[in-house]
Structure formats: C-alpha cells, structure tokens
C-alpha cells in the first residue's frame, strides 16, 4: 500500500447522536450532564460544541469517543452503533496526553502500530508524513518535555490523525495555550482540515474560536446539558480570528449564550 492509498483509504464518516442522556452520581449529588441530546454531523463537517463549563459538551465527546457509556440513546457512525473506543474515532485532549517515555516519532507511531494491514515501513512513512504535516519534521526524535505547549498539541494532532480516523474529536485542545500560539494553531488546523477533510467535533468554551473553526456552532446550556441553538458560519476559509465578519458571528452566538444562561439561572 502506498502512502497515497493509505491516506485515501478511509473516508470521513457521518455521525448521528440520537437521544443521548447521561447522569453522573457522585456521593449524594446527581449531575444531569446530558439530556436527550440529538446531533447530526455530515461527512467532512467541522462542528464546534460551545457552552459554559458543566454543560455536558465534554461528556458528549467522551460518549462519542466510546470512553463513556450513555444511560440512554445511541451514537452511530455511518449507521453502525459504537461499542467502546475505536481507532475510527480519535481524540485530542486538552493536555496533550503525549507519552513522555516515547519520542515524537514513537508517539505518532503508537496508534499506527495498533492498526492492522500495514507493514512497518508503511507505518513509518505515514508517521513521517503527519509529523511533516504539522511542521515538526525537525523534531522527529525530540523528547516530549523539550517541546513547547503548542508543539505538543501539534504532535497530539499528528498522533490523532495518523491512524486515519473517520472522526476526529477535539476536547478544548488549545485552551491551555497562550493567545499567539493559539492563533498559529487555528491557521494550521484549518490548513490541515482543508487537506484531509476529516469530520471534526471540536469542544470549546471560547465562542470566537468556535466561529473561527466551525462550519457549524452548536450551543449547549447546563443543568441539564442540552443543545439550545445552532449557528452556521458561512465565512470562507482560511479565516482570521481577528476579522470583523467573524466577530459579528461570535457576538451573535455570545448574545444567545448569555440569554440561555440567564434563562437557566432563573429556574432553580
């Protein structure tokens, strides 16, 4: 299999979340994290989930990842219900979660080594391609602690994309970075998304970030976690986070978010 064949092998998936509910019980507290959430995501669509902390957006991501089992409802990728975590749905976490006992290359290889149907030479070729794609070829054999926060997230992106998942799940991946690094990564992520056209579900509490990256922004509100509203962002790419058009969309979403927050505060 050549690199090109491997990259083209798995198209991105359509994702359907159908009536998913999830309640956490910790001691005497019951947290209704998700309440009958339904969401449809098309192939190659970039969807951002936005909401204040505790609105269940990360829980939904974990349910889609297969790391949490919902109390009710199903998640289908191309019609097939998910059972546990799988390499068709890769996750990028807020902390890079890179393995410090491996170098950059071996971190990217980790998921690839678990993927059947490839020779080791092909795996190495794919890993190099993705390290190159995120612009870190000079750091192929660097130790993880030698990288900056932004570089770590780039490696995490390469690691998540290397096994060619059909859906990429990103849980506030840029929240811990400084503003300048973050802006750079918005550019990189858009470029890489244009190139690879993965279905991406991106969780954030940063409205402007969501408007910058998403085709669609889905607004969550907490207690219980529900989807409130959806916004299409019809702006052309690549988008600049500082552009005025983008700010208009972000302001509109922000206003809606505040409205929903006020509404949920009134009811105890």
């Amino acid at each position: 299999m050549t690199l090109q064949q491997e990259l083209a092998a798995t198209p991105s998936a359509k994702l359907v979340v159908e009536g998913v509910s999830k309640t956490f019980v910790t001691g005497r507290d019951r947290v209704h994290a998700l309440d009958r959430v339904t969401l449809r995501v098309n192939e190659g669509e970039f969807v951002c989930l936005v909401g204040p902390s505790g609105c269940g957006k990360s829980t939904l991501l974990n349910v889609i990842a297969g790391l949490e089992i919902p109390d009710e409802g199903t998640v289908l990728t191309d019609g097939a219900p998910i059972r546990g975590p799988g390499r068709d749905r890769m996750v990028m976490f807020q902390e890079a979660a890179l393995f410090p006992w491996l170098d950059v290359f071996d971190n990217v290889m980790f998921g690839l080594r678990l993927k059947p149907g490839l020779t080791n030479r092909e795996r190495e070729e794919v890993a190099r391609y993705y390290v190159h794609l995120v612009g870190l070829e000079r750091f192929l054999h660097a130790n993880i602690h030698e990288l900056s926060g932004g570089m770590k997230q780039r490696v995490a992106l390469a690691r998540a994309m290397a096994p060619n998942p059909r859906v990429l799940l990103m849980d506030e991946p840029f929240a811990a970075l400084d503003a300048l690094t973050r802006e750079q990564l918005y550019g990189d992520l858009q470029r890489i998304w244009e190139e690879r056209r993965k279905t991406i579900i991106f969780v954030t509490h940063n409205v402007r970030e969501a408007a910058c990256l998403g085709d669609r922004v889905v607004l969550f509100s907490p207690h219980p976690g529900r989807i409130r509203e959806e916004f299409r962002i019809p702006l052309p790419r690549p988008r600049d986070i500082n552009s005025v058009d983008l700010a208009e969309h972000a302001t509109e979403i922000m206003r809606a978010l505040k409205g929903h927050l006020r509404a949920t505060e009134v009811q105890p």
């Binding site: 790391l67 890769m90 980790f110």
Partner: protein, 265 residues
C-alpha cells in the same frame, strides 16, 4: 575532570588523616589498623602469587571467591524479590481490597529491619543457603511492592484514555502504557530494593555461618573472631566498593536515561 580531581583530593585527604591518626597512637593498632596493613590484607587475599618463601599463596583469590558467593546469593534473592514484588505491586495498585490488606502488610513489613528476619529464618531453615535467601527476599520484596504500587497509581489516567482511543486493550495498555509510565517509580523501588537486599544479606551472612561458602559477611564475622582489624576494615572497603559499583554501573545510567527522557531532574 574537575569533579574527578575534587574527588581524588578528598579521598587522598581522608587517607592522610587516617595515617596521621594511626601515627599518633591514640588507640591500639589492634583497634585502628594502619592503611598499609589493610592494603596488605587486600593484596594477600587477591592477587599476591607466592607466600614469600617460595610456596604458593594459600589465600590467593580468596576475596574474589567470597565476592562471587555473596553476589550469587544477593542476585538470587534480589531477582526473586523483583519477580514477586513488581506483579504484587501492580495488583495492589489496581484492586482496593488488595491495597487494604497486602498494601498494609507491605508497609508494615517494609519498616521491619531485615536483620529481624534472621532468627526466624534460622529456626525455619537452620544454617542453610535457604535461610539466607529467605532473609534477602524478605528484605527486598516489600519496598519493591510499595514503589510499584505508587508508580502504577500515579500514572496519569489520561495516558490510559488516550491509549484506549488508539485501540490499545488491557494487556497492551499494561505493557505499553502503565509499566513505562510508572518506570521512574519502579526503578527507584528497584534501587531501594537493591540497597535493602545488600543490607539483609550482610546481616544474614554474619549470623548464618555455614560451610556451603564463605561470603563477605562471614569473612567479616571471622575477622572479628580473630581480632583481625585489618581484615574487618578491608572487607568493609570491598562491601562499600561493590555498592558504589552497582550504583554507577547499573542504576545511574538507567536513571540518567529516564531523567533525560522525562525531563525530570
């Protein structure tokens, strides 16, 4: 280079101080031997070919044999301790009932000085190799259990979650994620286990005198019986030297590698 010179100057100064104390004759030479007599003892029991009167040196290589016997006992006990301690530590970390039982037991027995096992071992096994092996294993295993448990419990859960999303399942997770992630803890536990094994074996050899081989501890013991202070001090040198060597050759490179990889220290 500068560090080497500093060390050399320090040890030379120590040697000179020793010689001066000896020269001052504050204590009897029976209690404070001269550096020369200790060096002579070491020479006569290692490389010296003849007895000076044309015959062969009956004590030639004696120290090497003793070191060999001691290291054989040490390594046997140490590796049994590791082979038992590391899996037990993993199980203890993973199952709460094990932590509440075996974990507490390990914590208690780790605090027991290993020489305290000697009377029990002597009654159970008599003056045998098994008695010594038992003492060494008991000295090693508990600190290894505790260090492994701490290591496994300190693995960042996000590593396991990340691995699972990449298709890693339980045995793979253990071998490729949990064990490497807890390696810094396990290595420091192995180092501590080594130190405890060494101490236990010396205690055992001093108390268990048997004919299946004279180890360093036994030579130390007979040095005392014979009032041969040069032998006692000479053997102590050898013991210290082996400890340093093990640290520099075996543990230090490993720790340096881990520090470089993880960016700690």
């Amino acid at each position: 280079m500068k560090r080497l010179i500093t060390a050399l100057v320090f040890f030379a100064a120590l040697l000179v101080a020793w010689q001066l104390v000896y020269n001052a004759r504050i204590w009897s030479p029976v209690l404070v031997p001269s550096p020369k007599s200790v060096a002579l003892y070491l020479w006569e029991n290692t490389f010296k070919p003849g007895d000076g009167a044309g015959g062969a040196n009956p004590n030639r290589w004696q120290l090497f044999f003793a070191v060999g016997i001691t290291l054989k006992r040490l390594l046997a006990g140490y590796f049994i301790g590791l082979a038992a301690g590391i899996p037990l530590g993993m199980i203890t970390a993973r199952f709460r009932p094990m932590r509440d039982t075996l974990g507490v037991l390990a914590l208690g027995l780790q605090g027991l000085p290993s020489v305290c096992w000697v009377p029990l071992a002597l009654l159970w096994y008599g003056q045998t190799e098994a008695a010594m092996l038992f003492v060494v294993v008991m000295g090693t295993v508990w600190s290894v259990v505790l260090a492994t448990e701490a290591g496994v419990r300190n693995v960042n859960p996000i590593f396991v979650r990340a691995a699972r999303t990449m298709g890693s399942r339980w045995l793979h997770v253990w071998v490729k994620v949990i064990i490497p992630a807890s390696l810094p803890f396990i290595v420091s536990g192995m180092k501590q286990g080594w130190a405890f094994a060494w101490r236990s074996l010396m205690a055992a050899e001093i108390f268990v005198s048997i004919l299946t081989g004279f180890g360093l501890g036994q030579l130390l013991h007979y040095g005392r019986e014979l009032n041969a202070m040069d032998q006692v001090v000479g053997i102590m040198f050898v013991i210290v030297f082996i400890g340093l060597l093990a640290d520099k050759v075996f543990f230090s490179p490993w720790e340096r590698f881990l520090h470089r990889r993880w960016g700690t220290g």
